[in-house]
C-alpha cells in the first residue's frame, strides 16, 4: 500500500515536467522565479504575466502587458536591400517591448510596481533601438520582392511564417513560446536551413562554404566566437560563418566583422581552410585588403572607380568552390565574380580569369602605373594582351610564334594560354592567387630588374619557368646575342622586353615584335638620336640605341652575314 502511494506521488510530481518538456516553462522566456535562465523574477511565479494579462491589457493584442516604447528605431539598410522595412509593427514591436532594452523586464501594465528581477537582459538579447545591425523586419515579403531581389524565394515559404499582412516579423523566425530549436527558432538553423527558407543564393549548393566539413583546429581566435552556439564545421554553420542575424558588427549585410577581410581571414589563416591566405597578405607586395574599409560595395561599378581591394572583389563567398579549370577559364575559387571582358564591357560573371583582373588593371584612372618607363607606356593591361597586338604573352589567346615556342619548356607549347596568376601569384605558396609575394609586382618567382645583374637560374627564375634558359644563354634558336647581353653585359630581361605586350594602338610588328619595348631610363638614343628596334625577319633585326656605353647606330643581328655593324 505504501509503495503504491509513493509511486502515485512520484508520478504526480513528474507529470508537470513531462507535460511541459516543450513548453515556455523550460525556456528563458519564463521570466518567473522558476525560470531555467539567469534572468528571472525574485518572487513572481506567474509566467505569462511578463507579456500577457487577461484583463485591462495595453491596447495591443494579444492582451499585451507591456506599454509601447514610443521609440523611433534606426532601421537596417544596405545598398543591396530591396525590401522596404518600416518602423517595427505587428509582433515585432511587441518583442521590442523588452528586446530594445528601453523598458525594464519587470515593468508590466497589470502590476502597479515593477516585478523585481534578478539580472538584466543579456547583451545578445538587447537589440537596442538601433536595428541597423539586425535582420530587417516589418517589410512586405511577396512575389514582387522576390523577383526584384533575384536571390529570394517566392512565398509560400518553408518553415518561415509571414504574418497576416504578408510581412516578415520577428515571429517569422522565432516562436517566443517554444525553444526546441535553440534561440526560439521555428526550425533548426543547422546548415542555415532557416535562412535558406527565404534566401536563395546563386551557386550556393555547389559552394565549398556549403559543403566543407572543415573544423577549427583550435589555434588562434575561434572563427565562430561571434556565435553563442556554433556548430562544429563550416557546412553546418553555413551563413553564420560570416553573418550574424542580430547585433552584427558589419551592419550592411550583417557581416560578423566591419573589416571586410576579417570575415574571411579568421578561417583562411590556416586554422580552418586548407590554405593560409593571411600569411600571404602579410608579405611586402600584396593586394592590400587591409588598406580599405567601407569602400567596396557589391553594387559598385564593375570597372572600379574608387581604388580599393577586398577579398570579395575576386571571390564570391556564396559561389566559390574547389573546381579547377584551364586557362583562361575561371577556377572554382573565382566562380560567380564580375569582370570586364576583352572588349572592355562589364560582365556580371567573369568567364575568363583575366576579366576579373581587368576590373582594376584596365585603364582605371588610379590603376597602378607600369613598373618602368619605356618607349611605349601603357597601364591598361587589357590593351597589352589584345591578340591583335604585335606581341603579347598568351593570356587572352595562344601566341603561335615559332621563334619563341621552340624554346619553351614542357608543357608549354604554341597553344598554351596563361593565367595572369601564372606570373602574378603568392611566392612559395600552395595558393595560386596574387595575394602577396616577397617579389615586386606580386610575382610568383624572382624576376630581378636591376641593371648589371649577374645572370643565373634564380635571378630570372620567373622567365626560366617557361623559357629554356640553356637555349637562351647559349643563343640557340633565339636572339643570337642573348648571351652577350644578359650574361656578359648583365642586362636584365626587362631592359629590352615589356612582358605583358605592346598594344597595337601604340606599337607595330616591326618595332615591337618579341615584346621589345626598351626601358628609357637605361636604354638611350643612338648617336643619331634614334631609339628603336627593327625586326627584319625570323632571327634577324637591328637596334638603334645606346646602352652600357655601347652605341648601336644601328647594330644588326642574325641573318646571312651574322652580326655586323653597318
Amino acid at each position: 500500500m505504501r509503495n503504491l502511494t509513493i509511486t502515485i506521488v512520484v508520478f504526480l510530481f513528474c507529470l508537470p515536467v513531462l507535460m511541459n518538456s516543450q513548453s515556455i516553462i523550460n525556456t528563458k522566456h519564463n521570466l518567473s522565479i522558476t525560470s531555467p535562465g539567469t534572468v528571472k523574477a525574485t518572487s513572481e511565479s506567474e509566467i505569462c504575466i511578463f507579456c500577457h494579462t487577461p484583463h485591462n491589457s495595453s491596447p495591443r493584442a494579444p492582451l499585451w502587458n507591456k506599454n509601447a516604447t514610443g521609440t523611433t528605431y534606426i532601421l537596417y539598410n544596405s545598398s543591396t536591400l530591396d525590401a522596404v522595412p518600416g518602423q517595427p509593427d505587428g509582433s515585432s514591436i511587441l518583442c521590442l517591448s523588452c528586446h530594445d532594452g528601453t523598458i525594464a523586464l519587470g515593468d508590466v501594465v497589470s502590476r502597479p510596481t515593477s516585478i523585481a528581477m534578478t539580472n538584466t537582459m543579456t547583451a545578445s538579447g538587447d537589440l537596442t533601438t538601433d536595428l541597423s545591425n539586425d535582420h530587417p523586419v516589418s517589410f512586405t515579403y511577396d512575389a514582387a520582392l522576390a523577383t526584384m531581389d533575384g536571390e529570394l524565394k517566392t512565398p509560400p515559404l518553408l518553415n518561415v511564417e509571414l504574418d497576416k499582412n504578408s510581412k516578415m516579423q520577428c515571429t517569422s523566425c522565432h516562436d517566443p513560446h517554444k525553444d526546441t530549436n535553440s534561440k526560439f527558432l521555428l526550425a533548426s538553423n543547422e546548415y542555415s536551413a532557416l535562412c535558406f527558407s527565404c534566401h536563395d543564393k546563386t551557386y550556393w549548393s555547389s559552394s565549398t562554404h556549403n559543403t566543407s566539413t572543415k573544423t577549427w583546429n583550435g589555434t588562434g581566435t575561434d572563427p565562430w566566437s561571434h556565435l553563442e552556439s556554433a556548430y562544429a564545421n563550416v557546412s553546418q554553420n553555413a551563413c553564420a560563418n560570416c553573418h550574424d542575424s542580430h547585433n552584427a558588427n558589419g551592419k550592411p549585410r550583417l557581416l560578423k566583422s566591419l573589416l571586410e577581410e576579417n570575415n574571411c581571414l579568421d578561417c583562411h589563416n590556416g586554422n580552418v581552410a586548407n590554405e593560409n591566405i593571411q600569411t600571404e597578405l602579410a608579405k611586402v607586395y600584396r593586394h592590400n585588403v587591409y588598406g580599405y574599409t567601407g569602400v567596396h560595395d557589391p553594387i559598385e561599378a564593375i570597372s572600379a572607380t574608387t581604388k580599393h581591394v577586398e577579398c570579395q572583389d575576386c571571390h564570391n563567398p556564396h559561389a566559390s568552390n574547389a573546381n579547377t579549370a584551364s586557362a583562361p577559364f575561371v577556377n572554382g575559387f573565382s566562380k560567380g565574380v564580375s569582370g570586364v571582358n576583352q572588349a572592355g564591357n562589364a560582365v556580371s560573371e567573369a568567364t575568363y580569369t583575366y576579366e576579373i583582373c581587368y576590373k582594376c588593371h584596365a585603364g582605371n584612372s588610379w590603376a597602378p602605373a607600369p613598373a618602368f618607363s619605356r618607349i611605349i607606356n601603357q597601364n591598361n593591361v587589357r590593351l597589352e594582351f589584345e591578340p591583335s597586338n604585335p606581341s603579347f604573352h598568351p593570356v587572352v589567346s595562344p601566341r603561335n610564334n615559332s621563334e619563341i615556342t621552340s624554346n619553351l619548356i614542357t608543357p608549354n607549347t604554341a597553344s598554351t594560354v596563361l593565367y595572369c596568376t601564372d606570373c602574378h601569384a603568392s611566392n612559395n605558396s600552395a595558393s595560386v592567387g596574387p595575394h602577396g609575394s616577397i617579389y615586386p609586382q606580386i610575382l610568383k618567382m624572382q624576376y630581378v630588374t636591376t641593371d648589371n645583374t649577374s645572370e643565373s637560374a634564380t635571378n630570372y627564375e620567373l622567365c626560366y619557368s617557361c623559357h629554356n634558359r640553356n637555349n637562351i644563354i647559349n643563343d640557340n634558336n633565339t636572339f643570337s646575342e642573348h648571351k652577350k647581353h644578359i650574361v656578359k653585359e648583365k642586362a636584365p630581361c626587362s631592359i629590352c622586353h615589356d612582358p605583358h605586350g605592346i598594344s597595337s594602338t601604340q606599337g607595330n610588328s616591326i618595332n615591337n615584335s618579341n615584346l621589345i619595348n626598351f626601358r628609357t631610363g637605361i636604354v638611350t638614343p643612338s648617336s643619331s638620336g634614334i631609339l628603336r628596334y627593327e625586326d627584319t625577319g625570323v632571327g634577324t633585326g637591328r637596334c638603334y640605341l645606346t646602352c652600357h656605353g655601347e652605341n648601336h647606330n644601328p647594330q644588326s643581328y642574325g641573318g646571312m652575314g651574322g652580326m655586323g655593324k653597318r
Binding site: 513548453s23 506567474e46 509566467i47 484583463h55 491589457s57 491596447p59 493584442a61 492582451l63
Partner: protein, 208 residues
C-alpha cells in the same frame, strides 16, 4: 521512513490545494454584506433571489439589473493570432458584466434602479473588452486544431478532476466562469478557479 512520511504529507497537501476544501463566498471579494450600498447586509441577495427573479436569462434566480451594453470585442481584427469566432457576451458572462462593465450600478438589485455605486478600479472592465481575454466563444477540438497553441478541451485535463470542457467550459464556451469561481469555491485570490502560480491557470488551456 521519514522520506516516505514526507511524500505522504506532500501528496495530501497537493490534493488539498487542488480541491480547496472549506472555502466559500463569505469573506471573499464577492461578500458585499458589509457594503454601505447593501443596507440589507445579505450576501446572496445582491445577485440572487429565491422568488420573482429576472426572467429570460441563463441564470440562477437572478436578482440584479442586467446590462444592455454592446461591447467592443477582442477579435481577430484585434489580434491576428486569434482563431476563435468572437460574439457578444452571452450566458453567465452577461451576469458578471452587470456589475463589471460599469454601466449598471452595483446597488441596482432586488428591483432597485437609479443606484449610484458603480464599480471602479481594476475590477472595472468597461464596455471595451478588446483588452480583455475573449469570452463567449466556442472552444472545441476544432479550434484547438486550427490554433495549434491550445490544448484539446475534450481530452486535456483541467487539473480539477476532469477535462477542460467538463470542468471549465459552459456548453463548450469559454465564459468568465472558466477562470473565475464567483463563489470562491477554491479560495484562490481574484476568485480564480485554481491557482495561477506558474501561470498554471493560463497554461491549462494555452499550450505554450
Amino acid at each position: 521512513m521519514k522520506t516516505q512520511n514526507l511524500f505522504f504529507t506532500l501528496s495530501i497537501s497537493l490534493l488539498m490545494s487542488t480541491l480547496g476544501f472549506g472555502q466559500n463566498i463569505a469573506g471573499s471579494d464577492h461578500d458585499f454584506s458589509g457594503e454601505t450600498w447593501n443596507p440589507g447586509g445579505e450576501i446572496c441577495e445582491v445577485c440572487h433571489t429565491p422568488h420573482n427573479a429576472v426572467t429570460g436569462l441563463t441564470a440562477p434566480l437572478w436578482n440584479h439589473e442586467v446590462s444592455t451594453a454592446t461591447y467592443t470585442l477582442y477579435t481577430s481584427t484585434v489580434s491576428p493570432s486569434f482563431d476563435a469566432t468572437a460574439s457578444q457576451p452571452d450566458g453567465t458572462s452577461k451576469l458578471c458584466l452587470s456589475c463589471h462593465d460599469g454601466t449598471v450600478a452595483m446597488d441596482n438589485f432586488g428591483g432597485k434602479t437609479g443606484g449610484t455605486d458603480f464599480m471602479t478600479g481594476d475590477h472595472l472592465l468597461g464596455t471595451d473588452l478588446s483588452n480583455d481575454h475573449p469570452i463567449s466563444f466556442t472552444y472545441d477540438t476544432a479550434l484547438a486544431t486550427t490554433d495549434g497553441g491550445l490544448f484539446d478541451p475534450a481530452t486535456a485535463s483541467s487539473g480539477l478532476g476532469s477535462t477542460i470542457a467538463s470542468d471549465l467550459l459552459l456548453a463548450n464556451k469559454v465564459q468568465c466562469s472558466s477562470c473565475h469561481d464567483v463563489h470562491n469555491g477554491s479560495g484562490v485570490a481574484k476568485l480564480l478557479v485554481k491557482s495561477n502560480a506558474g501561470s498554471a491557470l493560463c497554461l491549462t488551456c494555452h499550450n505554450k
